[in-house]
Symmetry: C2
Subunit: 685 residues, 2 copies
Amino acid sequence: MQNEDYMVIFQPSGRRGSVPKGVSIVEAARLLGVGIETLCGGRTVCGKCIVRIEAGRFEKFGITTGLDHVSPWQEAEGKFINAEQKAAGFRLGCQARVFGDLLVYVPEASRACKQVISKAARDIKIDLNPAVRHYHLKLDPPVIEEPLGDFERVGRDLEKKYGLKDLTIDLFALRQLPRVLRQGDWQVTVSVWNQKEIICVRPGTVKRSYGFAIDVGTTTVAAYLCDLNSGHVVDTVSMMNPQCKYGEDVMSRITYHRNNPGGLQRMRDDIIAGLNQLIDRALAVTHPPKPAKTILDASAPVEADATGNSQEEYLCLQHDDIHDLAIVFNTVMHHIFLEIDPAALGRSPFPPAIHHSLNIKARDLGININPAAYVFVLPNEAGFVGADNVGVLLAEQPHKGDLNQLIIDIGTNGELVLGNRHKLISSSCATGPALEGAQLSCGMRAAPGAIERIAIDSETKEVDYKVIGRQAWRKFSGPEDMHVRGICGSGVLDLLAELFRTGIIDKGGAFNRKTLNGHPRLRKNPSTGMAEFVLAWSAESAIENDIVITQKDIRQMQLAKGALYAGCKLMIKRLGLKQVDLVKIAGAFGTHIDRVKALIAGLFPDCRIENIQSVGNAAGDGCRAALLNVAKREEADWYARNVEYIELTTEPNFQREFVAAMSLPHMYDDFPHLEGIVPADILRQ
Amino acid sequence: MQNEDYMVIFQPSGRRGSVPKGVSIVEAARLLGVGIETLCGGRTVCGKCIVRIEAGRFEKFGITTGLDHVSPWQEAEGKFINAEQKAAGFRLGCQARVFGDLLVYVPEASRACKQVISKAARDIKIDLNPAVRHYHLKLDPPVIEEPLGDFERVGRDLEKKYGLKDLTIDLFALRQLPRVLRQGDWQVTVSVWNQKEIICVRPGTVKRSYGFAIDVGTTTVAAYLCDLNSGHVVDTVSMMNPQCKYGEDVMSRITYHRNNPGGLQRMRDDIIAGLNQLIDRALAVTHPPKPAKTILDASAPVEADATGNSQEEYLCLQHDDIHDLAIVFNTVMHHIFLEIDPAALGRSPFPPAIHHSLNIKARDLGININPAAYVFVLPNEAGFVGADNVGVLLAEQPHKGDLNQLIIDIGTNGELVLGNRHKLISSSCATGPALEGAQLSCGMRAAPGAIERIAIDSETKEVDYKVIGRQAWRKFSGPEDMHVRGICGSGVLDLLAELFRTGIIDKGGAFNRKTLNGHPRLRKNPSTGMAEFVLAWSAESAIENDIVITQKDIRQMQLAKGALYAGCKLMIKRLGLKQVDLVKIAGAFGTHIDRVKALIAGLFPDCRIENIQSVGNAAGDGCRAALLNVAKREEADWYARNVEYIELTTEPNFQREFVAAMSLPHMYDDFPHLEGIVPADILRQ
């Protein structure tokens, strides 16, 4: 009964270390800090975590290893690894477990790369009405005739001068009070939260007060450091959600929690540590004397833009200067963040543990800002429509106008809101991660080497494309310059639209063999026998293979867009509308989307192209609104209570609508606004 | 620049270990867990910490040591150590610092012994109206048509069934909610604090709910475990305040904080750890199936008395079952407990950081009960009249009657309250620790070997006495059976009264040489030349010395009682009264006091003896009232606001009154109620 550890070495990174017997190779990689793609969280669905087990004696590392040092082959692995590959030592990293010393090679295609994150704050109008306000006092010092206590002395003047009554004081602020009063010679700045509680006292007259608005996405996290006196965004920082290693989508993370004791705690610790890193980074960055700026990515070179902020040139912020924090996420991320069991969110009827917004002391969450500060957690609408959607609504305010808006927030999950000031309904649809590039044979995250734009020539059917990390398109580059690794979200929608527009696939999504007769890009995969279309030849790629889109991939995309379209349509019907006045696409995905191609692909019902808007990271913008304006917090709870959630999958017509919506752009619906954009014969097949 | 450590060995305990260079021997003892008396906290006032530095090579321990291994002799040590003793290696442990390996002998007189603590709960009437109430719910489970969140589902039924509105929920309770609801098959017990916040959810129908009332004294700590459903005291546990090692009185602790970086934190950590030990002990003790009982001392054999509690015979309590806690202390202990700088309490005008009561999450304080529970900290009246005095008032309720009550709480500090329902005033007087036995040449804490009762024969002037730990008085014992070590608080007052009543000292407190001419017990101390009276001969003692009371000791007692008497008198005058209707003596000291002797000694102005009451640990009783009845919490804040604090030392007549009150029983005042008790010629000298 001894706890055995084995040496595992990962190549090409060379990272090595001991891991406990029996952990999976994916887990071992996690323990040793090696990035392996794991989109499905070990459910053998994505096949992204293929690794090669090396055999033999490696003098250089002092280990002997072999294929028998891992757990036996699982049948499920056969879905992704053929017999030849199997013989060469390929395994699924989530299935193969460590039972001896190992040398593991992680192929390029399986390596998790740093994703490009783009969640810049938009310039939206927010009335400034922060929860934490600051009051300057000049007190009479205590004398023997009137030895009133410090807190009561402060409270008396706050009432006399500012009309604040019955305040309480946080323990941490109380601890500062005697020192601060005397240090400031009885002149102090008192920070009061929601006109209820003193959370900070500082000597003298101080104005400095900052807050964070944080948007925790399934995949990415963005934090906006805001000046609570001006409302300005001082800095934007972002990172990958460190929980990605437990699975790419929310269901995988629920699964991880279910299958791993302590898994919830681990995921929660990871997101808290991640947020603290983000906060540290934002505070460190603002130390040097330079103006406010936006950082899109931590690894990118820091470029200062000249937004000014001249009043306080030398902005040296401490964690204690952060007096407020507002945070949004989907409901599963919300539960994990708060360490609430998310299991019920994974089973019908998917009730959340709580809808209401929450005010929680930062110290209770382990968030490293002023310990007496509160974290405002925005409310959830439903199990699959979370606080992030409330954020979108706070930013877009569909309840304030007469126009019927359809707001689509496409992340790993699709969230829909439709309505106007009379009524608002919401729903969610399981688009799956296909629209984000996952679960496609060549899909990947938005990282360098990912195809993000595609244009196909109507005549020659030749493919031109652009990859992340390179300005020049394919046709202006040599093949060896492209280093293509796969296709990411924004490229996927382009691809689907272009395949259809150029007639490569028909309305039903099938490859049009007649049109492409003998074209070298359309071929049968020699091992699977499935039809596939080559997007980039191996000479252009970094993974020694052609980058292809298979018939099955196209089906995946159709399923995703069909779910979204069907959802939109059922909601339009539910409100008794003929059409929507405005379509807003939110989410990082939305900022990169080509609205024409989105319409061609049939992501949503027909609409005037000029009425399709991309609203960027509206969830983050709404979160910022809640940070800066307490009235928005009440509005948030109003949304969570009053937006009616529609469960689409139980709608009687859902299945029929879904099937019809899988066609391009739709089986029956007309798309008058695509006239002249898509050839008439193709549009009306 | 290296950090040197030296080996220090204490005898006779044999405890040994490395300590950093430069620490005092008292500090070294603390680090190694050796108890040395340190009443004054290192201010060279008490002289209790005398130790002997051994010199030579000690093969047994492998060290060589010597008098030069400690820091040089300080002049102040000469107050307590004469030349001969100095030559023998005696030093004050608080002054001598470690500069080499040491063997230190701790004489019997300097050893800190476990004190006898007696703070049993009185049987007082308290209306049951706890802050935490429990509600049983039977909920409809969520269905697809109504997937309302867990918290909102609970909230809806709490409003419908019990009329509770706008409740919030603690994060820790929210974390339990999804699991508990499903575990209990949608039947739950919800615990709500102050009709505001859900702090606990449990599956099924549960009633169990307990709380602690805790009285933190400067010297002793008592905790009452109470059943919040019945109000019964389930258990009483007590301990020495672990902060005693930093000094016996509150001023010494402020000094310790001022002189030691991190000292406040250390004292706070000690009291929190101590309270957690107490809580653990109370919970552990109630595990076996036995009735409720009172434990006076942890080391004493546990005696169960038959108070019943038959409903729940097998009472197995967990920390999570503790839903509430109320706590009292003097203002300095209050500040240290909350980690608030107490320095301002040590300087005129002595303002506290806060008067108001506080509700603080147990987890914020590190108190190991249900983490979502609140600790109710009772309010302070003034810098020297703390929450413990508010507790006394809650128990005695002087504001509810017409009788003018004088309530004297004698601890290390004396606190006085006087008045009735028309007006209440309070004050504090620096009695010093003399009445508790400290600062007397043979004074000690109430530990085994301490004289607690004294009777002197009027004719022979022979002394009879009783010591703690032995039932039989001196006259029924052999001298070698007594093992006297000193005199403690209750003995001190007896002594002063008896010395006066028998004419050994005169009204002014001076030894009456005429009366005692040639009596062997009255003598001159050979080294100091000061007159002293022998209470017990060395044959009866455990410290190889006669136990004596010196002229200076008597002066100390007179100063203490004079301060108290003057305080009472000035307060009586302030309220325009002729006399008080009722004298109540509170505090552990009060429970042991002989009220006749207290009157003879002139602790307070004349009063009918039957109107002098001992009210035991009224502070703890009041704290218990606040635990069990929320209305008492409001009453507590009312007291803190409305009892007028009088600073006695600035009263114009204080000095004159003080001097007059040092006489026995008073210089001018008549004591008609002592007629027939004290011989007329003595009473009216």
